[in-house]
Amino acid sequence: MALNVGCSARPGNARDNKTGSWRTFRPVFDNEKCNKCGTCMMICPEVCISEDEEGYPQVDYEFCKGCGLCTEECPKDAIEMKKEEK
């Protein structure tokens, strides 16, 4: 990898770095309580919560750092943080 005057990188290749390994707590979603408001998808700093086919949130655990922000902000208390079992 040659370093010239500037450095450049392929757009968005930070995805090579799987930050999910940082996690000690895992958010678990309860679709029964979820009202599909989209708050968790909007506020995730890791951009790792997306909408599934039925409009419920789904987490990409390869990147989720387990910060718990979604759990804290969920207006329906539909997300629970559970300790990761190795």
Binding site: A14, P45, C67, L69
Partner: protein, 297 residues
């Protein structure tokens, strides 16, 4: 309902869990869209989003130095104008680069009237190098260069009023926002980008590591700052305040207590004199911007 707009800030960046600036970066890019060139200054966001050879950005993105993001953006804007292209140039810089190190270049760019949008994500200190105070650090916050101790109650100077400085340059649109209110923030980003001329947006982005709170509370802390009056969300057009977020204001105590950087104000016993000084700052903000909801008789 999920926001359908595509993401231009990618997963896999190395920010702390619950990072306010990471969320700010994501929301800014969601609002700015594909036709954007991002100019970054040195800072936490630059470091966690682009550890070579990786980058979290999916639009053109450039970093040069700590102090010159506004100058680099000026050059890019002039060049794309000459070429007849229509990309929007957005600077995303931290409070250290904006309030302290980059002021000269920002002042120049705003004076020359480049069509750029300058967004400062304000986490109120130099976080990436280990929490040193900046011009944006609030009064009495303990940082590694303004440590609280026997003879000090933390940072001895109040926060610099950067929006007023840039409004005084004749900027057509100056606003403040908070990641705690994502929809409002994205609207302001869009407005700033679509307003011709140099626009400034200052985004409150709580830093769990630097301020000392649990990463799950990032949004809550942002809301508490606004509810206490220590942060005001407003819009300023042509130098006049046109919109202010009104709040039912609460005493500053709870906001201060929830963060390690203010812990010294309550231990071993509450330093009521200092807390009163911070309350006075909040009161002054509320009076200046008229944030208080006045009950109707």
């Amino acid at each position: 309902m999920a926001d359908e707009r595509p993401e231009f800030f990618e997963s896999g960046h190395r920010a702390c869990g619950g990072c306010g600036p990471a969320l700010a970066g994501r929301l800014i890019m969601k609002a700015a869209g594909e036709n954007t060139i991002v100019v970054a200054s040195t800072g936490c966001m630059e470091v966690f989003s682009t550890p070579y050879p990786e980058t979290a950005w999916k639009t053109p993105w450039i970093h040069s130095l700590f102090q010159n993001a506004a100058a680099v953006a000026s050059g890019i804007e002039s060049s794309i104008k000459m070429q007849g292209r229509d990309e929007k140039v957005v600077v995303i810089a931290g409070d250290g680069a904006t309030f302290d190190i980059g002021v000269l270049c920002i002042s120049g760019a705003f004076e020359r009237g480049h069509d750029i949008t300058y967004i400062c994500y304000d986490n109120e200190a130099y976080m990436n190098t280990g929490i040193q105070r900046s011009g944006a650090t609030p009064y009495d916050a303990s940082t590694t260069t303004s440590p609280a101790g026997k003879n000090s109650t933390g940072n001895s100077r109040p926060k610099k009023d950067m929006p007023a400085i840039l409004a005084a340059h004749g900027a057509p649109y100056v606003a403040t926002a908070s990641i705690a209110y994502p929809t409002d923030m994205m609207k302001k980003v869009e407005k700033a980008i679509n307003t011709k001329g140099p626009c400034y947006l200052q985004v409150h982005a709580p830093c769990c590591t630097g301020w000392g709170f649990d990463g799950a509370k990032t949004m809550e802390i942002g809301k508490a700052a606004i509810n206490s009056g220590l942060w005001v969300n407003f819009e300023m057009e042509e130098g006049t305040v046109t919109k202010v977020k009104k709040v039912k204001r609460v005493p500053v105590d709870d906001y201060l207590k929830s963060q390690k950087r203010f812990r010294h104000l309550f231990k071993p016993e509450p330093k009521t004199e200092e807390i009163a000084k911070i309350q006075a700052i909040a009161d002054k903000n509320a009076e200046k911007y008229g944030t208080d909801i006045v009950p109707k008789n």
